[in-house]
Symmetry: C2
Subunit: 369 residues, 2 copies
């Protein structure tokens, strides 16, 4: 996607130095656009853990490049042990996103098949690039499938604007390109459909306010920022035509873990008969798990994210402010799980399916046991 007119992905190899991975520092957005360099496994670990990079697809792609960096920086003696240790370190950073372990395991399989260190490095590089390219291509295809849904809605609405509510950032910043939830929006917008996006701010880290609003603004898509509290009111008053979110992990039966608060929107959408779609690349599926509410691990993060809010002051400084009394305790779960019964359809790169085991396996027959 474009930033001030220049084409960017969220992660790439530095042109003149294949030992350096570059990423957009998403902690600085929307107030500054900075590119950060990752040169070591520790750089990659930190970038995922401190949310310099975040979002299901980009976490996977960063882990993929992290494994390449591991191979590249591994010692001549003990190469394999170094790489296996790096895999452990990377997988431990964030528990909820399925793409993380998926990317690391794919790299481990590729690397383990190589007899020499040199071949390992080569295989790890091509696998990292493949993970990133496939992520972008999957999102592009999600956009194609999802666009049809929006076009059909616009047809039924006789050309009236389609109002789409989204939560958090499942935009191109959360992937390598295009995004999952935003891909259909960009595709429909580019095709000339009148769309308007309600952007949930998405406390505690405000990825909606800081990333989705920024992305949509850069691309020129009409949107309004709202608090996470507002969506139900909008739905009750006919101001939402569809809800479209991403997912960090979807179980075999269609339960979807996504940013905390997604489930509240799904429950309200159900209460108002509004379609609720979840867009995801196949790398976000966890085919080995059912009953997401019970079985998907939910990350609990630092309570400071709830007690403090960061932003830009009137004189342009980045400042953090405390919104509660000094002694107030807080809790901070990063994700919740939307049960399959509340999801109208899943949108994947292979097509659109019911959020059910039968629906999912219809698109992924190779996962049938």
């Amino acid at each position: 996607m474009k930033v001030s007119g220049t084409r960017f992905r969220t992660i790439w190899l530095k042109g003149d130095d294949p030992g350096v991975v570059q990423v957009i520092d998403q902690r600085k957005l929307p107030h500054a656009f900075k590119v950060l360099e990752l040169r070591t496994v520790e750089d990659c670990r930190a970038a995922i853990q401190d949310m310099t990079v975040r979002g299901a697809g980009l976490i996977g792609a960063t882990a993929g490049y992290g494994m390449y960096i591991a191979a590249l920086t591994s010692p001549e003696k003990g190469t394999r042990a170094f790489i296996e240790k790096a895999a452990e370190i990377l997988v431990a950073t964030r528990p909820t996103a399925a793409n993380l372990a998926w990317a690391v395991n794919r790299q481990l399989a590729a690397i383990r098949a190589c007899p020499t260190r040199e071949e390992s490095v080569k295989a790890a590089l091509s696998t990292a690039a493949a993970i990133a390219d496939e992520d972008a291509e999957s999102c592009r295809r999600i956009g194609g499938h999802g666009k049809e849904i929006i076009i059909e809605m616009a047809r039924k609405k006789r050309g009236g604007t389609i109002h789409i509510l989204t939560h958090c950032n499942a935009g191109w910043l959360a992937f390598v390109d295009y995004g999952s939830a935003t891909a259909p929006i960009y595709a429909a917008f580019d095709a000339g459909v009148a769309v308007h996006v309600w952007v949930d701010e998405t406390r505690p880290r405000n990825q909606g306010a800081s990333l989705t609003a920024w992305e949509l603004g850069q691309h020129g898509v009409p949107h309004d920022l709202i608090t996470d509290n507002a969506g139900g009111h909008l739905m009750q008053h006919g101001l939402v035509d569809l809800v479209l979110t991403g997912a960090d992990r979807v179980t075999r039966n269609g339960d979807a873990a996504n940013k905390i608060g997604t489930y509240l929107k799904a429950a309200a959408a159900k209460d108002n008969g509004i379609p609720f779609y979840v867009a995801l690349p196949s790398s976000s599926f966890d085919f080995g798990r059912v009953d997401g509410v019970k079985n998907i691990p939910i990350e609990e993060r630092d309570s400071g994210e709830v007690r403090f809010v960061a932003g830009k002051t009137a004189d342009g400084k980045i400042e953090t402010v405390q919104i509660c009394p000094d002694t107030t305790p807080a809790r901070n779960w990063g994700f919740d799980v939307t049960p399959a019964r509340l999801i109208t359809r899943l949108i994947c790169e292979r097509g659109v399916c019911e959020a059910s085991e039968a629906g999912i396996l219809g698109l992924f027959p190779e996962e049938k046991t």
Copy 2:
């Protein structure tokens, strides 16, 4: 209730000057405790409009004292016109809370019955005091009725802690004393029941983080601050025993307007079979209206409340930070309406009833037509 051990109400007449109304400046909480003086109708209007005072009951009580100030500061000639104009000004400040028009109309009736300016002032003073006293007494009684519900839950849980989720501030700061949603919590806590409160931060103005957390902390009630997004996850995992909120207006059939986001919690509570109670004094009923989603006017406030967050910096200054790009537009509705079908029971000063016309009129037979 107590502030650092000293007993306070949220509004009172200055002891040595009956021409001055004093209120706690709630815009400064939790970072500073300041008392503000209101001496003119304009002071009262501004205090309601800029949310120096807020909350259903306190808006009503402030409007009541505002009408007294109007009578007191009215000219010898044109007394009545001055007072009627003040009534208009005060009613126009906030459209959603029922208590506002209720208090002003009660004052108008009292004042219109007086033949002289002097008697008008006297009647307005005693009516303002009565409105405030009745508000406090209603909340105290709500506490008594609601306490029984919590005690019964604790009995069924065999003494296990009762986890209560609340939204916004329907605490003593929103009334003259005790609060509506918090009154049962304080009463149960004081009676030795193990309670714990999940405090929704309540964006955009964070009344949960800044006021409810402060109140509960002052009284020693165990609580944790959470984002508005977290409640659904907690409910899915058995961590909420009941949801208890206030209301700014409840229709004849039991639909409840309350702070934006309340409806999302009600929909999730329904989805999880968790009881959802709404506590309110009778002054918050709008017996003349049905179908709250359609017919309760919902205030739309300045979009800056969404785009900016205020709080305390590390060096103790109050600062406002922008959380989105410079050009991002935002929308900001202040309330939403929870349909009666999602409300387990209403708790009023007269008792506990179904959220239905039959249930409500069972407690308020004088409103039968």
